[in-house]
Each structure stands twice: as structure tokens, then as C-alpha cells.
Amino acid sequence: MITLTKAELWNLITKGEVTEDPNLPKVDGRIDLRGLKLPKPAVANQRPFAQFQVRTILPSSSVRGAKLHELDLTGSSIPSLRLFDAEIRNCVLDRCNLADLRMWSTTVANCGFRSTKLRGAALGGIDNGKRNMFLNVDFSDADMRETAYKSASFTHCRFRNTRLEGTNFQGSTFQDCVFEGEVRNVLFNRSASGGEDLPPNQMLNVDFSRATLRFVGFRGLTLDHVVFPQDTDHFVIRDFDSALDRVLRLLSAQADEAARKLVFFLENERKWVVPNQAQGVVNALDLREVAGDEGLERFRAALNA
């Protein structure tokens, strides 16, 4: 019988040195690694080697080719984790601290990151042309502010009350995803800057119907398979390019301060509208913040003119 700490068991699992074992402690069929706490990697010692100063970093944060299947890591802290060519399947990563996580060529399927700290994590790295794939992943209540992307694939993912402020998803693709709660200061794009060779984002069957969209940009997207909220806070506008052009013409003819602010704000949006864009969305609260109640009513009048 061998006795291991959770940290030692984690190390063996990430190195593929643990096989299925009925004696492993389980929670709902998953290996129990709840509350795993790993220290932040730091320099343990250093020595010269050829022209280099070689430093030993403990513990290693890089995990390559790992198959992380059926683990319960609820409440764990794994700082500065680097995943390459990994598979994470049927794992619970709720309420974890994954500060400074970066991953490449990794598939994450049937997992939950509910209420997990992912702020600043690099979830959209590309290695040898391969993207990260997120399939049926629940990011509810997670902190994903300022997460970094070139492109990642999100399919059947749920973002309920997920904090996303400051996130530019670049060329990340979304299919059959649901966003609920406030989505603020986020950019969705058809492709990443310099990533035109990657699969384009088409936002297929993406549901924002229970979301509040505050200062959210949709750039280069036709949005014909997107469901927007149907409430008084959102103007969901069909034939967005021609409608927006008409609004801008009318507002530009009005020389007062409210109209000038609206034109500045909406022209910034107009740059990213594609020809024959099926629909677009403008948030009334955003307009009120830009140009006050007067501006909001001016926009409404121009839209209905």
C-alpha cells in the first residue's frame, strides 16, 4: 500500500502514472482531488550550465499530453498551470483558483468551471495550428475577465453570470452556446487579427435571450443564427447596415451635443457591420450612458423615422 498526498497523486496523474484503481477515493465516480493546493512555481536553486544560468523551478507547472479524466478538483488552487496537448474530460473544476492558466492544443469536454477564477488565463492559444476545444463546458459564475485568445472553439458551452469584462475573444468560434446575465465590455469577432487562416466564427445557434449586453461588440458577423434578448433594454434591429446608416444620416443632420455623441458612438460600431448583416443589437442603457435620456429618445426617433 502506498500513501500519497493529493499533490503527489496529481503529479502522478498528470504524468500518466496512475491507472484505474478501485482503491482510489472517489466522489460521484470521479477521483477525489478536492481542495488540492499547489504552490506557485518558484526558483528552488540555480547553477551555471554552459553559457546559461540553469534554475530549478518547483513545482513544475508544465503538463504535456496528460489525460485528466474523471477528476473532482473542486476548490483546488493550481497556479500558473501550463497544459500542452492535454485532455480534460468529465472533470469538476468548480470554485478553483486557476490564476495564470495557459493551455494549448487541449480538449476540455463535459466539465464544469463554475465560480472558478480564470481571470487573465490564456484559453485561446494555438500550438502547431491546433486550437483548444471546449465542448459542453459550464463556465457559470466563473471569473473570465481579460482571458486571452487567438482562437478557441466553444461548443455547447454555458456562460451564466460569467464575468467577461475586458475579454476580446478574437477569432474564437461559438456554436450552440448560451450566455445569461450581464455580458459587459466583450468583443466577438469573425476572425482574429492575423488569424484569417483559422476557422471563422459564425456564431451558430448562440443564445443571448436571457443576457444583458452592455458595450458588447460583434465585429464582422452576420448574426443570422443568434438569438438576442427581447426586452425594453435592447434594440434588436433587422437589416442592421441599412438601418444604422439611416439612423446616422438623421442624427448627423442634428448639430447638437447629444446627436454628436451618438454619431461618434454609433460610427465606431458601424465600422464593423458587414453588408447585409441580418441583425444587430444596441443597448438602450449604453445609449443613455453616452448621450443621456435625450440621446436615447433621439436614437429611438431616428430608428422609427
Binding site: 500500500m1 502506498i2 500513501t3 500519497l4 498526498t5 499533490a7 503527489e8 497523486l9 503529479n11 502522478l12 504524468k15 500518466g16 502514472e17 496512475v18 491507472t19 484503481d21 482503491n23 482510489l24 477515493p25 518558484a42 526558483v43 528552488a44 550550465f49 546559461f52 544560468q53 540553469v54 534554475r55 530549478t56 523551478i57 513545482p59 513544475s60 508544465s62 500558473s80 495564470d100 495557459r102 494549448w104 487573465g120 488565463a121 490564456a122 492559444g125 494555438i126 500550438d127 481579460e146 486571452a148 485568445y149 475586458g166 476580446n168 465590455n185 468583443l187 487579427s193 492575423g194 461588440g217 455623441k261 461618434f264 458612438f265 460600431e269 465600422k271 450612458e289 453616452v290 448621450a291
Partner: protein, 155 residues
């Protein structure tokens, strides 16, 4: 602590440190301890060039991308904010791009609005900071005493 039986390869001896260094290229991560793996890192000489390339791309992308909707809302009332937003976007885009680069996985990134140089290497103690030429001297003053010598990433 937890106890269990079958461990594939758990008893394998760890390679000696010197053997590991000879067997692998020095820039790779090498595990040297079985139970608690360690890693050996060295600084690739072209890290500065890689970082600068990301900053150059970020500066171009920030020009092309322009203002976010939230920034446009603020700039509608105060157009003078636009240059600060451009600087902020270069910083954010460069950090995101560098974080997503597998060749720079060992470079640490200071989150925005936290004190410290933009990037540093725990392997070498080297730090880098993104700033304009005119601001570099201020950044040297700010970080050198605590972090050592830094390298300027310009845009």
C-alpha cells in the same frame, strides 16, 4: 494523505540531474524528481525578439481595431481620451498575445493595473516593459531597484 494500491511506474527511479541536462536541450522543462517534479528552465536568447514582435503586432492591431464600445462611449464625451485608450489597447493586446504564445509559456505577465514590469522571467530574473521611448526612463526608475535590469519593448 490517501492510500491506494496500483501505481504504474510510481517506483521508477528519477534520472540524475546531470543526466537530465545532457539528455535534453537546456531550454526544455525537465522533471528530475519522481514524487514532486521539478523543472529546469533556461532563458532562450531570442525571448526579447519574440516579445518585441508581439508588441509590434499589437500596435498594428490596436490601430486596426480602434476603440471598444465602452471606450467609444467614454470618448464620445471626451475625445482626448483616445490616445490613452490606444496605449491601453496595445498593452492589453500584447499581453493577451504573449500569454497565448506557447514559445513564451515561461514568461510571467503582470496583470494590468498591478505594480511591476509587464513581463519577467523567473528563470533569469530578466524583466521587460512596454512603453514609448519618452516614458522608458521613468519605468527604469520605477522597477530597477526591486527587479534588476530591464529591457525596453517599444512601440
Amino acid at each position: 494523505m490517501m492510500a491506494f494500491g496500483m501505481l504504474a511506474g510510481a517506483a521508477m527511479p528519477a534520472p540524475a540531474l546531470e543526466d537530465a541536462i545532457i539528455a535534453e536541450a537546456p531550454a526544455t522543462m525537465i522533471d528530475v524528481i519522481a514524487a514532486v517534479p521539478a523543472a529546469i528552465e533556461t532563458e532562450a536568447p531570442d525571448v526579447t525578439a519574440l516579445l518585441q514582435a508581439h508588441v509590434d503586432s499589437a500596435a498594428a492591431a490596436a490601430n486596426a481595431t480602434g476603440l471598444s464600445p465602452a471606450q467609444a462611449a467614454a470618448a464620445a464625451s471626451n475625445p482626448g481620451l483616445a490616445p490613452a485608450f490606444y496605449d491601453s489597447n496595445v498593452d492589453a493586446m500584447a499581453k493577451a498575445s504573449i500569454a497565448a504564445d506557447p514559445a513564451l509559456s515561461s514568461v510571467q505577465i503582470t496583470p494590468r493595473f498591478q505594480f511591476g514590469p509587464d513581463f519577467y522571467s523567473s528563470s533569469t530574473g530578466q524583466w521587460w516593459d512596454i512603453t514609448t521611448d519618452s516614458q522608458w526612463a521613468n519605468h527604469v526608475d520605477k522597477y530597477t531597484q526591486q527587479f534588476g535590469n530591464g529591457i525596453h519593448l517599444t512601440y
